[in-house]
Symmetry: C2
DNA sequence: AAGAAAGACTAACATTCATTAATCGCAGGC
DNA sequence: GCCTGCGATTAATGAATGTTAGTCTTTCTT
């Protein structure tokens, strides 16, 4: 997989890239880096000079709670092809950090190249914009899930979403995928205690919907799992459209 | 207040607008419309040809739950100056509707004018992008609040945020504001039952932190309320910065 | 092979929140 | 001035989730 190809595939799934758009993307100079589980990929609060695309593994946006330094909330997960902190290009510093979940490989793109794109490639700019808007749509869906689903269904929704996103970039198939999340980290995502997450995992297992051993997840009953979660993938905006 | 002036103030609070940017914004042709409480301003699912800016009142992004038509979740509130469904310009249809909360006045801007801006005004384009990214930051903060705060503190966080945003555009002051939300609608926002919302409101009242009668909210103890909510307004990204 | 550490898992109990069913209070219609 | 409807409020009960305190595997270390 050559540089930025995952992200190009991400875009091409949703719009047609012109020859100029494509060659501009292919001409991006990037810095490749790897991170061990738990390492900070993008620190909180600092105004960065670059943003990173996921190449391999899983990363998370982690919010430290004020006054409770040992607690955190995870507000997003990122799979290969995601332009993780693209929003850091426009905002005045991020209010969260990005950390590696499991081993991670990313590519950094300098912001001066993004400035060039926004100055000279309006269609490509709208597609970058779109990528951040899809992230926002995922945020909204997490809010809907948090407000309307109980523990097992809430967990089921997360599994359906992650599988759909991994599958969309070819990083999962046959209803199997690798999810190197600890139950403690799942708790930070879902807003439950680790013990309650354990109950939810056991419930989905007892219903025969999934197996989960180590980092290996297999969805045995997609219909049942997605029905329980009332999962509808349209919010991931994976339709072709001219933008 | 002339056309789009609220939104111009919203942008100027965060960056410097060049004379060209300003005149382009002032040249926007808009359609002014008013809505009664509960009316749909932007319907779900349809690919729109225009997006709307809030001029007066309060509106909400409302997600209908699949299979439960009487239930909904509100994932965002919008105050004057907000470019409510700007994301509809780039996404392939919205997965939520926008409804009026109390009486509302908005201005619609056609998407062909937004195309023109993205083709010819790169700095202004980045500012429009920024507006949608601030919405996303608010989504994330709501996720953090939902995961880490119990009922009273969660409600307190919402009140702190709305007051801060209203105050930033001059639509509130002296720790007073109008919030025409029913407790049932608050429940759709916070993910609680209406009864539990009532308990939270009573709790904040009993602590002497707020009064709330009809649509009139007064924060009596800002320090206490924002401390309870662990509210930190930096996520609203209200700092001046060149983007 | 023994020990240690980390994560998964379980049980018992406490707290938070949902549900159901009423009552209360206010505003509008007649 | 009374009725009516809607929303706010309260109480009682049960379900969902948190907390504390462990045990059980597995894996790594020595």
């Amino acid at each position: 997989m050559a540089i930025t190809d995952y992200f190009i595939r991400y875009l091409q799934r949703r719009d047609t890239l012109s020859a100029e758009d494509l060659s501009r993307l292919r001409a991006l100079r990037t810095e490749n880096e790897t991170f061990a589980p738990g390492e900070v990929i993008v620190p909180v609060d600092r105004i960065a000079q670059r943003s990173c695309m996921m190449l391999r593994g899983l990363s998370a946006r982690s919010h430290q709670l004020v006054g409770r330094p040992e607690e955190r909330v995870i507000t997003a997960l990122h799979v290969p092809g995601d332009f993780v902190d693209l929003h850091g290009f426009v905002l005045a510093g991020l209010e969260h950090s990005v950390v590696a979940v499991g081993p991670v490989e990313v590519e950094f793109v300098s912001h001066d190249q993004l400035i060039d794109i926004t100055e000279n490639f309006p269609h490509l700019t709208r597609l970058l914009w779109m990528a951040t808007l899809i992230d926002a749509a995922v945020h909204r869906q997490w809010l809907v899930a948090a407000a309307s689903l109980r523990s097992s269904a809430h967990l089921a929704h997360l599994l359906c979403e992650i599988y759909t996103r991994l599958n969309a970039v070819g990083a999962a198939g046959d209803h199997r995928f690798s999810l190197p999340l600890l139950q403690r980290e799942l708790a930070d995502i879902l807003g439950y205690s680790p013990i309650h997450v354990n109950r939810a995992v056991r419930d989905l297992r007892d219903r025969g919907m999934i197996t989960w051993s180590g980092a290996d997840v297999k969805i045995l009953d997609w219909t049942g799992l997605s029905g329980l979660a009332r999962f509808d993938a349209t919010y991931l905006d994976m339709e072709q459209m001219s933008r």
